[in-house]
């Protein structure tokens, strides 16, 4: 018996109290998670499912922030036929089950539409939820090509998908491709989005006359990009296409700049870092001459200016480009709501969204209109150049803006 | 007739020699004793015999088969059971279940396993506590449980590793009788023991081990008077001025 460790003074009483407390809390949680939050009839609720904790919390939060600005704008303008909009945002925790639970919680609390979800895997799950609950989902950001391939009636996507980005890349190539450009190399993060874009482009590379000399993939969670940089420096392609998220691409550029490697031409595709304001704040004019094909606002739109300024005012930083789609998703819902006789009827709202024809919006594209799959038919990215430490849209011509630049 | 023969077994761990060319014979139906200080290599030798370790070199012959590479499970099926120096009860199982684990060794059914278990619990005198959790037994009872488990496997040879350790005088007296009783049922026993009077009383033949080597062997009286054993193991007794 001697070999038993005597633990010094067991927390006996506190153990009992703890158990009691837990039981009480459990009972409470059962009750609370059971009650529906009362449905206020005076506001129209729009649900928002984004990762607000975990590794994508920044992107998710920015999305919600932009949505709030859109909501405030509509309410300031008198709301929907006199009724105010309310955004109900939920944390998807970045997981499928978290997203599904959040979406259902929202549909329970009486939202007329869902928006979300930043990651494709969550979007797939929420779109199924939308289909089952017959509440329309307007996808803010989720680029996976197969998102709408299930024939869901209730899912709409405003943002450009992987293949749209890729097509944009091929189309805009004419702008930056020089005659002596022969070789191209890709460095992309190895998930659905990075790998998806690079694959699409390589499948169509013959059309461009370019020859692929390198396809370098890396996990987005990498802590070093040294060997990739070394390898690319040796390959020295005429065109380098980096595709990735903020932290990894930032790491990449940092290595490139530190070593003073001059790539002939760098054109990002939906690059999480290149189009970000923080990126410019960090590197200033050192990154001049880099292009990126990405989300953007329409510089000629007054509403876009309003959005930019308000975001900066409220949140103290420039709006991250992906968050623009958070803003516009609310606008799409609001526009449809205005056309509904009964805005509380999700079914009518779905039809209204499907029938959307929005000419006034912040995006660098033509009219927002959905095809029968729910895809925004005119969705597009634009070609952005970093010039004098500023982002300037250079292509397509109608959205190009050489004078107005983002601060 | 030897049931078990250990021939020239060596066992080393990362260069440390624990058993150094040890040999011993266990005759059928007898009780063979193995004495020596802690660290002399007795338990290691035991482990080599019972299949828990594989000997570095040498042979273990059991029922005319070389078994030095067999696992403990296999040997158990062949009728060799053992106890451990530190009792190892399955604490969260009841006493009966503990013994039944051993009972399953030869049993064809659950019922038979529990029959074996009850029999051996009866033999060691733990039957009253069969519903208790094993971890609630005291040291003496744990020893008995250990023995009962081994017996439930229906062994022909029983290897006992210091079964007396931690027993009260009354308990050890009972244990001596018990071992004798078990032996009388025809089970061959090889036992490690510290307490000289016990081993002297029980054993038919004794081996003395030191630093991994066998230094002496013989019937109890011979060993007790062997000058080599006295010099390196027994001593001359404490002399205080």
């Amino acid at each position: 018996m001697q070999y038993i460790m005597e633990s010094e003074r067991k927390p006996m009483r506190s153990k009992r109290i703890f158990l009691l407390l837990m039981t009480a809390l459990l009972a409470l949680s059962m009750v609370l998670s059971g009650c529906k939050s009362q449905t206020a009839t005076d506001t129209i609720k729009i649900g928002s499912v984004h990762p607000l904790t975990g590794s994508m919390a920044y992107e998710g939060q920015a999305m919600v922030n932009a949505q709030k600005i859109a909501i405030d704008k509509i309410n300031a303008e008198g709301g929907i036929n006199g009724r105010f909009l309310e955004l109900v945002a939920k944390d998807s925790l970045g997981t499928s089950s978290g997203a599904a639970n959040a979406a259902l919680k929202l549909t329970n609390s009486g939202v007329v539409a869902l928006t979300g979800t930043y990651t494709s895997s969550s979007a797939q799950v929420v779109s199924r939820t939308a289909e089952k609950t017959r509440i329309p989902l307007v996808v803010t950001v989720a680029s996976s090509d197969n998102l709408l391939s299930n024939g869901y009636r209730y899912t709409f996507r405003v943002q450009p998908s992987v293949s749209v980005f890729s097509q944009n890349f091929l189309k805009y190539l004419s702008y930056f491709k020089t005659d002596d450009m022969e070789t191209v190399a890709f460095i992309y993060e190895n998930s659905n989005y990075g790998a998806g874009i690079s694959e699409y482009i390589t499948d169509h590379i013959d059309e461009t006359g370019l020859r692929i000399v390198g396809m370098l993939s890396y996990p987005a969670t990498t802590s070093t990009m040294s060997s990739e940089v070394t390898k690319l420096a040796a390959l020295d392609p005429d065109l380098l296409v980096p595709i990735g998220y903020y932290s990894d691409q930032n790491l990449f550029m940092k290595e490139v700049l530190e070593r003073g490697i001059q790539f002939k031409k760098i054109v990002g595709c939906a690059n999480g870092a290149f189009s970000d304001a923080k990126f410019l704040r960090t590197y200033g004019t050192q990154v001049d001459g880099i292009y990126d094909i990405n989300y953007r606002y329409n510089p000629n739109s007054e509403e876009a200016q309003y959005m930019l300024e308000t975001y900066r005012e409220v949140y103290g930083e420039d709006i991250p480009v992906h968050a623009i789609y958070g803003y516009e998703s609310i606008m799409v819902v609001a526009d449809a709501l205005k056309r509904c006789k009964n805005p509380d009827d999700p079914e009518e709202l779905r039809d209204a969204i499907a029938a959307s024809e929005i000419y006034e919006h912040v995006l660098p594209q033509g009219v927002i209109k959905f095809d029968e799959k729910g895809e925004n038919i005119n969705s597009a990215g634009v070609l952005v150049e970093i010039r004098d430490g500023k982002h300037i849209i250079v292509f397509p011509e109608e959205y190009a803006d050489h004078d107005e630049v983002q601060k | 007739m030897e049931t078990l023969k250990v021939i020239d077994v060596c066992k080393s761990f990362q260069g440390n020699v624990a058993v150094d060319h040890a040999s011993l014979d266990v005759k059928e139906g007898e009780i063979t004793g193995l004495i020596g200080a802690n660290g002399a290599g007795k338990t290691t030798l035991f482990n080599c015999i019972s299949g828990y370790y594989h000997a570095t070199s040498g042979k273990v012959i059991y029922k005319d088969q070389e078994v030095q590479h067999k696992t403990a499970e296999k040997l158990c099926h062949m009728g060799m059971a053992r106890t451990f120096q530190i009792a190892k009860p399955f604490g969260m199982l009841s006493v009966l279940d503990n013994v039944a684990v051993g009972g399953y060794n030869k049993a064809n059914s659950r019922t038979q396993a529990y029959e074996f278990a009850e029999q051996s619990l009866d033999l060691v005198g733990l039957i009253d506590k069969k519903e208790n959790l094993a971890q609630l037994l005291n040291t003496g009872e744990q020893r008995k449980l250990e023995l009962a488990r081994a017996l439930a496997t229906q062994p022909e040879v029983l290897l006992l590793d210091e079964v007396m350790a931690g027993l009260t005088p009354t308990e050890s007296r009972e244990m001596v009788e018990l071992i004798d009783k078990i032996n009388k049922t025809g089970i061959t026993i090889l036992m490690i023991e510290h307490i000289m009077p016990v081993i002297m009383k029980l054993s038919h033949y004794i081996y003395v081990m030191e630093r991994g080597k066998m230094i002496a062997e013989g019937i109890p009286v011979e060993v007790a008077n062997n000058p080599k054993v006295i010099e390196s193991y027994l001593g001359k007794g404490l002399e205080v001025e």
Partner: protein, 319 residues
């Protein structure tokens, strides 16, 4: 005997609650219910291998993911019904489980080291699936949305709920029966002392591998369900460490190595997590802080788990 009654009573109450629940709940509650059951099923799977047999796995996502992938690939690419795919997935997972187990046990790994090996295998599978085009690489697999029972698809979530419930009940009954038979008793013996068990003739390796195979198969079953219910899988989702953690949490909260522990654990932790998500919507991160604090408190003050503590008390075991 008292223990047995309490155990049976608890399980019966849980079962009753589980059966009535979907009729009292809306979609959201149902979805939470499914989260609870999924966690319970994963927990029971983990329970066999780690709770009963004592082989601590930190890589159950490997089996879960294999199950999800096997059925989904068969379904989407080859039109095989996921019901059959599920069986195939279970077989594949069991095979991989046995392989991992065999290698680990052959090299005598235990405790932390065994846990790390399982974790590493899960990670390897994630990287492998993420980089293999034939397995759809990073794109993941989208399950077509239908309402055909033969294809494991239902528009009504209640049916999903009951199917999952049936799986949990089956796993629980299996463990319940097992725990009183040779296999179960010997597994506990192996957990408590492998050497002693071996010396009593228990086929240690065989039983450990068998436990791993069964455990892996149940996790794979959960994986197939997951794919069919949520409709989308990719390597970062189904092979993530988060899934492995989900298998462990309910067992520790409820009590590892007990029949009702994982069930009760899942029933406690999922609603608590939902609650903290709902209560602290304003400040992001607070929900996860609360979740973390809850876990810490449970582990510190209730080391054997809630159910485990009760059972131990009833059996009169030392704390």
């Amino acid at each position: 005997m008292k223990t047995k009654k309490v155990e049976q009573g608890t399980l019966l109450v849980l079962l009753l609650m589980a059966v009535i629940y979907p009729f009292l709940s809306d979609r959201y509650m149902l979805s939470v219910g499914i989260s609870v059951l999924l966690m319970a099923l994963l927990g029971q799977s983990w329970n066999i291998m780690s709770g009963y047999a004592g082989q601590f796995s930190f890589g159950h996502a490997a089996f879960f993911g294999l199950g999800a992938y096997a059925s989904s690939i068969l379904y989407v690419d080859h039109g095989v019904s996921p019901w059959i795919g599920m069986i195939a997935g279970m077989a594949v997972a069991a095979l991989v489980g046995v392989l991992i187990g065999f290698l680990s046990f052959r090299y005598k790994l235990r405790g932390d080291f065994f846990a790390l090996v399982t974790l590493a295998f899960a990670e390897i599978l994630r990287v492998l699936f993420n980089n293999t085009k034939a397995l759809k690489a990073a794109t993941g697999i989208l399950i077509p949305y239908k309402d055909v029972w033969s294809e494991f698809q239902f528009a009504n979530d209640r049916i999903f709920y009951f199917i999952l419930l049936a799986m949990v009940i089956a796993a629980t009954i299996f463990i319940g029966l097992m725990s009183r038979r040779k296999f179960g008793v010997c597994l506990i013996a192996i957990k408590e002392n492998q050497e002693a068990a071996g010396s009593l003739g228990v086929p240690v390796l065989k039983y450990k591998l068998l436990a791993m195979a069964i455990s892996a198969a149940i996790a794979a079953m959960a994986g197939t369900f997951y794919a069919q219910y949520y409709g989308f899988i990719d390597p970062t989702v189904v092979f993530s460490a988060a899934i492995s953690v989900e298998a462990i949490v309910p067992c520790i909260i409820g009590g590892a190595g007990t029949l009702g522990g994982p069930l009760l654990g899942a029933l406690i932790i999922v609603p608590l997590k939902e609650l903290s998500n709902n209560l602290f919507e304003g400040v992001n991160g607070v929900n996860m802080i609360i979740y973390g604090v809850l876990i810490v408190l449970f582990v510190v003050f209730c080391r054997d788990g809630i159910y485990g503590t009760v059972i131990r008390r009833l059996k009169g075991a030392r704390s």
